[in-house]
């Protein structure tokens, strides 16, 4: 594995210190890290999943809208941020790995390093258990 840029190292370290859920991906959408709060919501520890491609993580928790329709990867704020390099937000339901249904409110932001290098994105999310 190649060394990560300083901005992603600091983003991961920052996310690790927060008590709200954080999900960090690289410019291709590959999962790099999620923190303890995200582990609680997703029902699986980062150490168990390790890094995952966007294709895997975007389907793993079966995201659905309020009517129960399955969402595609492109409907997820974090994937939108990866494509647009702009912030995005949205709400949707997931099934955690332990079978709990959560309503997630997600805000995703691009990570741009000096000088204007797109390095990935970070999603912060809040949940309510249904």
């Amino acid at each position: 594995m190649a060394g990560q840029p300083i901005e992603l190292i600091l983003a991961r370290q920052f996310g690790d210190t927060l008590s709200q859920a954080v999900f960090l991906v690289d410019p291709e959408g590959n999962l790099l890290f999620y923190n303890e709060k995200a582990e609680m919501i997703l029902g699986v520890r980062f150490g168990e999943t390790g890094a995952m491609s966007q294709e895997v993580w975007s389907k793993m928790f079966h995201p659905k809208d309020e009517k129960g329709n399955s969402l595609s990867a492109e409907d997820l704020p974090l994937v939108q941020t990866i494509k647009s390099h702009k912030p995005a937000r949205g709400s949707f339901y997931i099934n955690s790995a332990t079978g709990e249904r959560h309503l997630l409110n997600v805000t995703s932001i691009p990570i741009e390093g000096r000088p204007h290098r797109f390095l990935g994105a970070m999603a912060l999310f809040w949940n309510s258990v249904e």
Binding site: M1, A2, G3, Q4, P5, I6, E7, I9, L10, R12, Q13, D16, E112, G113, R114, P115, H116, R117
Partner: protein, 278 residues
Amino acid sequence: MMKIKVWGCRGSLPSPGPENIVYGGNTSCVQIIKDDLCIILDGGSGIQRLGKFISKDVKEIHILLTHLHIDHTMGLGFFQPLYNPNTQVHLWGPATSVEPLLHRLRRYFSPPLFPVRLNELPNHPEIHEIGDSEFSIGPLKFKTSYIGHAGPTLGYRVVDGNKTFVYMPDHEPSLASVDFPNLPEWTSGYDLAKDADLLFHDGEYTPEEYRTKIGWGHSSMNDAIHFGRVCGVKKLAIFHHDPLNSDQQLEKIFDEAMEKESPSFDVSLCKEGDIYEI
């Protein structure tokens, strides 16, 4: 083969005096000697003396700045080749998202900090903004990356054939790491320093001092050794000596760090005037 000569390895502030005879008092300046190239890393107070030894016939000089803190730039205005109309100086330094390097350099080259402006020099220096970059000067290949220090700061990896020199005079990897000194890929500067033949690295503090200065952008000698170990370097030379430390104090801190860490690679304290060959 390249030679690396230390013209200044003191951190933060020049510290001349009888108690600092061995390691020197000038701030960061290192010369890379290769064929007839003139390449200088950082323009701290050490560059003033270096300038006196550069022939007036040298046509081209490259000064590569890690960052623009004053201890890395304060010597530039006193570097005599800048006033030689036959010499073209190239200034390389970190790009930001906000302000061009030229504008940031002009802050130093203007009153009240300095009487001479850049556009009053016989030859305006050629400015090169770099970030996560790769480029060549003569046969030397350079790779640069942003590293963990306050403000935009670069580390340099210089490759000559199969030999590698890495320069990170100001670096705090224990803060810019997910689990220092583990997870090398998640440690600032790892890609630059990996398997280097020679690494110059920040080692300003004792571990006790570092605990009260976290986030200031510098490392303890012990963390410099940890970083050298995690990167698999062959030789580490500790740089950026605290201006408050005398020769005697530096050697005491160094001996304690070596005893505690027992590195399996060569570690030394940089001295002004030292020449390393790789």
